[in-house]
Symmetry: T
Subunit: 72 residues, 12 copies
Amino acid sequence: MTYGEERIYKKVEVIGISPESIEDAIARAVKKARQSLEGLSWFEVGDIRGHIGEDGRITEYQVVLKISFVVK
Amino acid sequence: MTYGEERIYKKVEVIGISPESIEDAIARAVKKARQSLEGLSWFEVGDIRGHIGEDGRITEYQVVLKISFVVK
Amino acid sequence: MTYGEERIYKKVEVIGISPESIEDAIARAVKKARQSLEGLSWFEVGDIRGHIGEDGRITEYQVVLKISFVVK
Amino acid sequence: MTYGEERIYKKVEVIGISPESIEDAIARAVKKARQSLEGLSWFEVGDIRGHIGEDGRITEYQVVLKISFVVK
Amino acid sequence: MTYGEERIYKKVEVIGISPESIEDAIARAVKKARQSLEGLSWFEVGDIRGHIGEDGRITEYQVVLKISFVVK
Amino acid sequence: MTYGEERIYKKVEVIGISPESIEDAIARAVKKARQSLEGLSWFEVGDIRGHIGEDGRITEYQVVLKISFVVK
Amino acid sequence: MTYGEERIYKKVEVIGISPESIEDAIARAVKKARQSLEGLSWFEVGDIRGHIGEDGRITEYQVVLKISFVVK
Amino acid sequence: MTYGEERIYKKVEVIGISPESIEDAIARAVKKARQSLEGLSWFEVGDIRGHIGEDGRITEYQVVLKISFVVK
Amino acid sequence: MTYGEERIYKKVEVIGISPESIEDAIARAVKKARQSLEGLSWFEVGDIRGHIGEDGRITEYQVVLKISFVVK
Amino acid sequence: MTYGEERIYKKVEVIGISPESIEDAIARAVKKARQSLEGLSWFEVGDIRGHIGEDGRITEYQVVLKISFVVK
Amino acid sequence: MTYGEERIYKKVEVIGISPESIEDAIARAVKKARQSLEGLSWFEVGDIRGHIGEDGRITEYQVVLKISFVVK
Amino acid sequence: MTYGEERIYKKVEVIGISPESIEDAIARAVKKARQSLEGLSWFEVGDIRGHIGEDGRITEYQVVLKISFVVK
């Protein structure tokens, strides 16, 4: 890609989920998005949330993110 | 669904419209979204607006909402 | 369209890019969106950004916008 | 009204109050605004608040809204 | 209560839930809060969300609200 | 005033200015607003700004506030 | 005007509309406001929106702005 | 306290009220909070509001603040 | 828990601190909150901050979070 | 520049001013910033404001923007 | 300064601290900024915070502010 | 440092970048800032973004942060 070149991006909003970490939740969301979308370019993190299990442990991180991709 | 299980959600933004009430505008938007999307899970209300007719009555409520659904 | 009539809108988020102006970036995004979507009705401008070239000139304006269209 | 036609809107901020519901608070504010303003066109809901009586019941809903009208 | 009089308020944040309506979700949250707190005075609505059942119907409204009460 | 009673409030946005203090800027704005409006009831502070003179002293505080009053 | 001098400003919120550009929409709103208000001093741009015609062209830009003026 | 040391803070939201000034409203809220909480550490100011009496004078300042304290 | 069932949640705001990572700061805050509260259900991350030591290393991460729990 | 490569950006906040247009105000701010900073990379528009002359014309556009540049 | 004249402003973000009052914290920050910057023109208040001593008294007010100055 | 003592802080806004993690991006930004600034005291995280490579992997995390330091 070259700046100044004609192109349009679209953003989709997804929620990645991981029992491991915030970074892993992001990676999973991006990986899933890539199954149906081409040209993924960048992401922006929105809300970061998580679920707490009955034993008080963090069962999963839930990261809301917007993923931008080139529209061909 | 079980917390901790692998899954991804996607959010779509829609505007439900109803001459009756805010709740009805939400219900109509969800009903319509369900015609093309499976696995709807929850919604979040954004802006609440409405149109005022020439006789000063509220012709319709317009509720912007984000609907989240599981991506299979 | 008549207010009070049953209908639902959907919003998509896109980024229009133009070397000319903010208005041109909007127009290009709308034009592109129209290739795959019918019933475009209005847009709302979000972030306005731009790239600066090595010679210090503004190479392009990047305008994030939400475009709303009627869902049939 | 036709889009593209020359016109200007003005917004006023009011608080509608009702012991019944959010929708009724909106309707009362619009009705009152109409006594002194012509050409009311749409409203946008801001804060939604309410008063709690000594018996723990909700005495009234207070809805802050902006009402837009055409300036002739 | 008289304005100008010495007093302090405290705010608590709760989520009221109702299968009926937004107003009912608020009322339930206020009713519950009253079981452990005295001097409830007003509420402010934050996020409005809801759950969508498998049949596409809205199972419940979830209203986040802050409730203020006098600290004696 | 009694809660639950029928009434509507209107808000106006003004900027009070004072060389003395933030409180004085608020008081001046309220005093001025009262010359043309009746039933002033409460105010909410928005932005707080100020001007810096050539000698580096604060020449004036500028306080943006919304003043609410009963519409009769 | 001299900083430090006693004065109060008031803000009004208007929506300027233009088929040409964002700047023209601002200019039209200011021009209209000037027909009924004296002492206009500055403006602040809020939302920027627009209408899309059936042929996919931008029929008009709608710019929400607050205009401040001295209250005499 | 030493940075890096294990500890947790909790925040409570209160509204301090004073007929004198914003600072006094803060001080009163902190003083009251201290009657039931130990380890108060810092505060953050949220909304600043006030009541206007029938004679147009500011009867009281109402300052919403969050107070943080160490949880032992 | 079953959606549609009668229940109320309460939110508390805490700050978790860890010399290790953002996730560890969250985990510590949740663990501490669990000592005095039952029924913890989920958390939402607010501000993420941290302290920098004299040697320029990050001494600790400070994560503001809201924890929600069922009110019995 | 290559993504993944080690680098740090810094942001400065400036206000560009132009009697012509929003785009020109941005260009002037970028041009000025370039006199003292190297490696300017992109900008983000914040507030858009303007001054209104005594004849009701827009004397100048004032655009607040953040400019990012590589720190060598 | 004359509106319409070519000039650029830069903003710096500082935190003024005072044991006395919010106004004094602002004044101290401006005074300090003036030691290294010329052409200070106005300030905007951001967060207002403060420290609470062990005896429950407010040890200091911390006011975050942006100071704008002309870039020559 | 002692609370109540006279001092001023300044904030700079930087973007730390790391192929590893959010924490590493913060650490790199702080490390770089320390090369030209003394007295770094704390940081606040703003936007969290990242770049996605052509193979769908996250090439780098980009963390916008404000770093505060004492002005001597």
